[in-house]
Symmetry: C2
Subunit: 241 residues, 2 copies
């Protein structure tokens, strides 16, 4: 009984890592049931306690996965459009992206040709900070952007990414930056299936004076007019689809 | 009936402005009751509709006041201590002060001798931004701090406060700054009765490199060790008390 419980739970973890969440949930539940039966016969209390801790861990993970799956299945049918009005406030990254950052998210890919100048790089850092402190468990961020033309600026841009990359690594997140000369579209793809298109990319906040409330608090930063489309990969068909 | 309803409601608004909230709630409720009876007899639909809108407004205000009073009466008995550990994160101003910023708050006074250098002034702006976007209706911020000694720096400090003051005015908040050479204690007093003492004042965040997640997001900024005491003015006795 003990051995088969362990086997089923190992299988659950592998399925979880492979992002086959529905199957992982089934295996977690089966494995937990088997393990509960098995420890009833145990006389070794230390071993019993160790397994109980493990059971709690697996139950927590399975429960969170279940909730994420229910939320996702309810949400993924809908395309969402957020229309940001010129000079409106209250469109911080957490307001726009917060709902998409669930426990199953581990990787984010950003196409945005304009993560180049200082304020755009700050936008990117703020976006990374949101990913890091969310419920998600982001381990990899891929950024596709373009390079500054001026040699001096290009060196500054690369130094900034190098510093960000080091800081992210300290937080167990890998950053991969690649440069393209032809990239134009802005799109952010989350590996839990969500795709976000913003006309202006991350750079939809207006510039404000240094000593104003909105300079540090993006909740209070006025925005440029832009449209944000959010939809799920399940509902996207390729030309050959 | 209509006239007495209006009189009672006017009285409610005055009591509300005078911060006699318990009495204001009673008058709001009486006035709303009278007005509801009065409009039953009205034949003028435009007038009826106008009064209905007014009734909704007053009901909303009375309900919010009631909730704030209940919350306050439950909370004000307790002194709260927050112990911030060296290098810990998650102590953004919203986490510390968020619960104190209710609908009855209109004025905040800050004693903090070190709102002088650039990063301290940024702290102050971030604190003001939190006040502004909270449930409170802050209309006045009083800052008691000390002046830079160096003439050049002093001029920069005053320019910064002038810019902040202009920006706050645009948001209907008056800023009053006064300078003291003897001020030492750090204390923030909210006119809904809350008093907050922080050993280090607003300046309890550590410096971090420019291109790191915590530079822009104070949720992720490591802190200095410090103790925060929160208590209510009702439970403070003066030497003569």
């Amino acid at each position: 009984m003990e051995e088969s419980a362990i086997n089923v739970l190992k299988r659950a973890v592998v399925l979880d890592q492979e992002r086959r969440f529905d199957q992982a949930i089934v295996c977690y539940e089966q494995g937990i049931g088997l393990l509960l039966k098995a420890i009833k016969g145990f006389t070794d209390n230390v071993k019993k306690e160790r397994y109980r801790t493990k059971i709690n861990e697996y139950m927590g993970r399975a429960e969170k996965l279940k909730q994420a799956m229910i939320k996702l299945k309810n949400a993924e049918k809908f395309n969402k459009v957020i229309q940001i009005e010129e000079d409106s406030i209250g469109h911080n990254y957490s307001t726009i992206f917060g709902d998409l950052l669930d426990i199953t998210l581990t990787e984010v890919e950003i196409d945005d040709p304009y993560i180049r100048s200082n304020h755009q790089i700050i936008n990117f850092i703020r976006f990374c900070a949101l990913l890091h402190k969310s419920d998600a468990n982001v381990r990899k961020i891929i950024l596709n952007t373009s390079c500054e033309n001026d040699e001096n600026k290009q060196s500054q841009q690369k130094q900034a990414f190098s510093a960000i990359s080091n800081n992210l690594l300290q937080n167990n997140i890998e950053l991969v930056v690649s440069y393209s000369k032809t990239l134009h579209d802005r799109e952010i793809r989350f590996n839990n299936g969500w795709i976000v298109k913003i006309g202006r990319g991350l750079d939809y906040f207006k510039n404000v004076p240094k000593f104003s409330l909105g300079f540090y608090d993006y909740d209070l930063r006025p925005c440029h007019e832009t449209t944000i489309n959010i939809f799920h990969a399940k509902h996207v068909k390729g030309a050959d689809g």
